[in-house]
Point group: C2
Chain length 331, copies 2
């Protein structure tokens, strides 16, 4: 039997329960609660050992990633962090070593992003370690997925595909016998770069004010570039053209692609990028690029919003690249 | 090896991370974020199948309970609900029947408490069903655990002990062969009352404004009356005297105690009451009682705050009742 996707499941069972305007029909990365002056932008991501991270990932980085994936959602809405709540489901065999590392990693990120811990809940789980973080932010203007207009440019921060390639490289670190040939052939520094991008994504927190000031629509890329862009276009009721060769790729990703061209699909549809995808007027690209650089990252125009619907993803010869029906789903 | 309690674990690993004033050192049921005008009261409770509820509990009531235990925390801080986020960790074998029932139960409670769904996250878990709800509220004044003063009266809403007795009765429903004699001997309506109090606690939401207006300190009773009162006294730096015979017990709990006097300890230290424990000036008892009655519940004075430290729990002959070192821990 085909199981519904996470989006189908939300649309069917939970969207009917979300009538508040700030919930936006559960179609966005974050909610605004309550509406009006002084509202908080709130988001919640759950991470489960064995699903969203490897059980033996360094606890410092598990803690950091759990917070960062939430801060990435906030940043994509134009919101700076205010604080967070931590739900911690601990299996019976937790160790002091794990919790010491976890707390140390969390402390570093609390300081790094100026995002203090406000509370939470600790429970035992007869299953894998489960983390549920609720993060709170403030924005001068909350940017939704639905504001893209024909003629807008589409831009992304950072580089695309590293997280998905890093996941494969990390799995290969854990089980060298099953490593694909391209992983084994990568230069060590490229391999380490990809693994680190998977283990410790860098949310574009300090770029958030520029998103609020200039983006017409935005979201973070967490479930794969092609699928997430399609979601933004659908929410905005527009289409787009994007050229694959315009996509910003890291040296490590280019090296992997040179070794194994079939990884193109992984780059386009893999998850765990945690970069910001936004649309803006062509007039605003310069200001956004400057802000991105000031925040320590790149901003790359990768396509244009068009009338109509659907995403035309073109290769170097302007042929449509078929990324297939699949896209990465944490669910 | 002795494992630390939930409180020890929070104090050791996470309290050092919570420097924001609104986090109150992670010693309260809810946080205030951010500080100042327009702040939200936020709380987060996780519930795990097999730990906090039985895997075959009716999904409508699992949903209701998951929301209600959070609303109980808000009410105890004097806060009315604003909305909530739902983190849903689904095992691979989830059924449409379960999700239909879960969503229907959630819808009813959303309407009942005027507490809309704002968002959340759905993930798969290679373990039991895991629920993580973050609830938001607003209070004219946030009541903490630490405001009790010598001379204040201690009051509780509703009745104490039903949830803990109901847990035993519910377990007996599921495994009749293991039912204690007192459960089997209870009148059916008493048994049903206790089970329902366990499955579907009633948070004192509509009493929250009176808590904000009149209570000097408050918390909800979720981990056992005696232990929770001791926590409130410790947070306030005071002691108390309370007479067991003043505790409000339901007819069903009295019937159970008549059948099995040793259940006294369960009543005093069992969890799952979800009633409000508060302290107030004797001058405010009348107004609080009137507000409780208007909100459909009782308010019962059960003791007095004293100088010093510690809780003296006295029986009918003014002898201290020893409830032992144990108290209920969901963790």
């Amino acid at each position: 039997m085909t199981r519904p996707s996470e989006d189908d499941l939300i649309a069917r069972y939970f969207a009917p329960l979300a009538s508040a305007p700030g919930a936006d029909g559960l179609t966005d990365d974050a909610a605004v609660i309550p509406e009006g002056e002084g509202a908080l932008v709130v988001t919640k991501d759950m991470l489960v050992a064995g699903v969203h991270f490897f059980p033996d990932d360094p606890p410092e980085l598990v803690a950091a990633k759990a917070l960062r994936v939430n801060l990435s959602d906030l940043a994509a809405k134009g919101a700076m962090p205010v604080g967070f709540l931590l739900g911690l489901g601990l299996p019976a065999d937790w160790t002091e070593e794990f919790l010491n590392g976890f707390a140390a990693g969390l402390k570093q990120d609390i300081d790094l992003w100026a995002c203090p811990l406000y509370g939470g809940d600790t429970v035992k789980v007869p299953g894998p370690l489960t983390l549920s973080i609720t993060a709170f932010g403030r924005a001068t203007h909350v940017v939704r997925r639905r504001g893209a207009r024909p003629g807008d440019l589409i831009c992304v921060t950072g580089t695309i595909g590293d997280g998905a390639l890093g996941l494969i490289a990390r799995a290969a670190d854990r089980a060298p016998d099953t490593a694909p040939a391209w992983v084994a052939a990568l230069e060590p520094q490229h391999r380490a770069h990809l693994v680190m991008r998977y283990l410790a994504p860098l949310p574009r927190v300090f770029f958030a004010p520029a998103v609020a000031a200039h983006a017409s629509a935005a979201m973070d890329i967490s479930d794969g570039f092609a699928g997430d862009l399609a979601k933004l276009l659908k929410a905005s009721g527009v289409g787009a053209t994007s050229r694959f060769e315009d996509l910003p790729l890291s040296e490590a990703a280019l090296a992997a692609l040179a070794l194994e061209p079939a990884l193109l699909r992984t780059v386009l549809t893999g998850g765990d990028d945690y970069e910001i995808l936004l649309t803006c007027s062509p007039d605003d690209v310069a200001a956004l690029t400057e802000a991105a650089n000031a925040a320590g990252t790149l901003l790359t125009p990768i396509g244009e919003v068009t009338e109509g619907a659907g995403l035309a993803l073109l290769d170097a010869e302007d042929r449509a690249v078929d990324v297939g029906p699949g896209r990465f789903e944490h669910f």
